[in-house]
Amino acid sequence: MSTAAQEFLRKAVIKSADLEHRATIQRAVTSYDAAVAKGKLRFADWEAARTLCAAIKADAIANLAQYLTEFEQHVTSRGGHVHWAENAEQANDYVVEVAKARNVKTVVKSKSMVTEEIHLAAALQKIGVTVWETDLGEFIVQLRNEPPYHIVTPAMHLSRYQIADLFRDKLGENVEDADPVRLVAAARVALRRAFFSAEMGISGANFLVADSGMVAISTNEGNGRLTTSIPRIHVVVTGIEKIIPRMSDLAALWPVLATSGTGQPITTYSTLVRGPRTASEPDGPEEFHVVLVDNGRTGLLANPETEEVLKCIRCGACLNICPIFKQVGGHTYGTIYPGPIGSIYTPRTAGLSEWGHLSYACSLCTACKGVCPVKIDLPKQLLGTRRDFIAAGNVKPAERVGFAAFRWAAADPARFRLLAWMGRKALAAVNALGLSGTALDPMRVWTKYRSPMTLPKQSFREWWRENGNK
């Protein structure tokens, strides 16, 4: 078992027993579910919206080279810089170089999962740059020195009291009664200073628009706007799969992303950035850089089976419906992307043997498939990941023996009856010896968490032979 798998199990044990955590997540998800149900009513045909968005993203991925080069050409024609990075190191090196060359001391960041993926903040901090996360949820987890809990709501696991304590400790701000309005105001004041002193703003991208070379950034707080308006340098760090063909595609994607993400009709600030400020504009960054990050995405593309995974628009809907995510929470996975999408994406890009266990941390309930706004067949991807995990030789000896025995037995009904009969007799012996539920119980994996099953006196086959034809 890989280290990551052991860690996952260790954390899962703790979180599964944590009823307070379970209640916190349940409250957040109930609120989300109600908002999304309301949001879907704004559509005459939600299913048609999903089909359309799936088609837009499928087209984008199937013609990725063409759209990316079209996008690049527009951006560079307006004085922006486009840098292609095959991996995290190349992406970080570029941003660090720009920061060094332009004497950047402070960076403000709006939310970008890709920057977490490549650990950009750490690379900048290493050269002495202060990095401020400006999305409130990201700001909170940054202060706590922990990774985001969820790709859309990073601090979903915390209560207002925990956040108040945090602000008191780290910001010296004492908010009475942990009033959320005052907490937000305290964060606003702290981050204001950062926005107005930073030399560089780093953002992600929700979409890259090929036909006009625009970078679409959606936020509710306005931190994305400030990050990309005040500092003199704007750097966009984005996965290559964020491309969409046309600006008009946003008429579907913006409402669908907002509905699946938070239940809103559209996020408050839906922005399109064309490049650095023009000569006639009173403000805005003088420099504009777009870093296109591969980091394993072309690997997903190369495999026809996994290509559809690149359609993901990072809405978080699959996390919110996943019954496993709702029990163990976002920190248990040990990955940047948790939940169903993360359980496919991580093994496929960061190592099948190390991370394949995540694809098994799923009861195959298939609820995720029904909510994905771009219709990725997540259960099929999970099953395929499991198949490839086994094909790569990642089988525990006991499991290998078990399945070999099963294959042998299932090939012939007489063998099947024999093996089953032997199993039942062995189990009856274990029970008779009082070993049920102990470490010697072969059914321990079952009885550790459940009361033991009563063994029937006869199998169905045996009953049928005696009584079936009466």
């Binding site: 496993i324 309930c365 086994i390 294959r407 090939a411 099947f416 086959r461």
Partner: protein, 249 residues
Amino acid sequence: MNRKVALFVPCFIDQALPQAAIDTVTVLRRVGWDVIFPEDQTCCGQPGFNTGHWETALPCAERFVRVFSDYEYIVCPSGSCTSMVRKHYPELLASSPSHDEAVAVGKRVYEFAEFLVRIAGVTDVGASFPHSVAYHPSCHATRELGIYAEPLELLRAVRDIDLRPLPNEAECCGFGGMFSTKFGMISAAMGDTKAVNIELSGAEFVTAIDPSCLMHLSGVFGATGRKSKTIYLAGVLASSSAATAGARE
């Protein structure tokens, strides 16, 4: 002359929960169908398929197709095993010579409740079950096969039954096959969440068209000292008087 139906008994029901299959036979006969049990059957291959051991699942599937190729109607007391045959055999057998036959067999395999309502055309099977019951819509059956209305129609026709809505009914109970043992702690937590909702419904029994879910929930109830009981749908439908009611799986 009665019509005939072949019984596909999932391996774990055969060995651990035979009453589910016995009650299925009882009900099918009561509504006028003759039941054949092809003894050659072993396993549909779902355990291997779901755990990534497709090389184990493939021969099971090919054998299944052979064993059941001659039957016009095949009934299975399990939503997940029915779904394996109908929805997943085409992919598993994509390169197999049995592929086309598998697709054809898939069209003739029915989950028990689906069969009663859509093929046998009955909703009232003459059952009586004077208890409060909540219906748990198991995942594969509801989402992969689209079976939701049929079990409820059958339950509503049961005399003296008190059907209770189940809060958050669509949430997985946590069984998930091998998931239940590979990630037992999460499985149990999901079962516990479901158990809380069952208690909130006020129902004495929970029923479903997947005995595996019920087997898992029964274990969770036992481990957490809950009073709720499980009963497979055919167990409810086979009941014809209060005297025969009990916690049968």
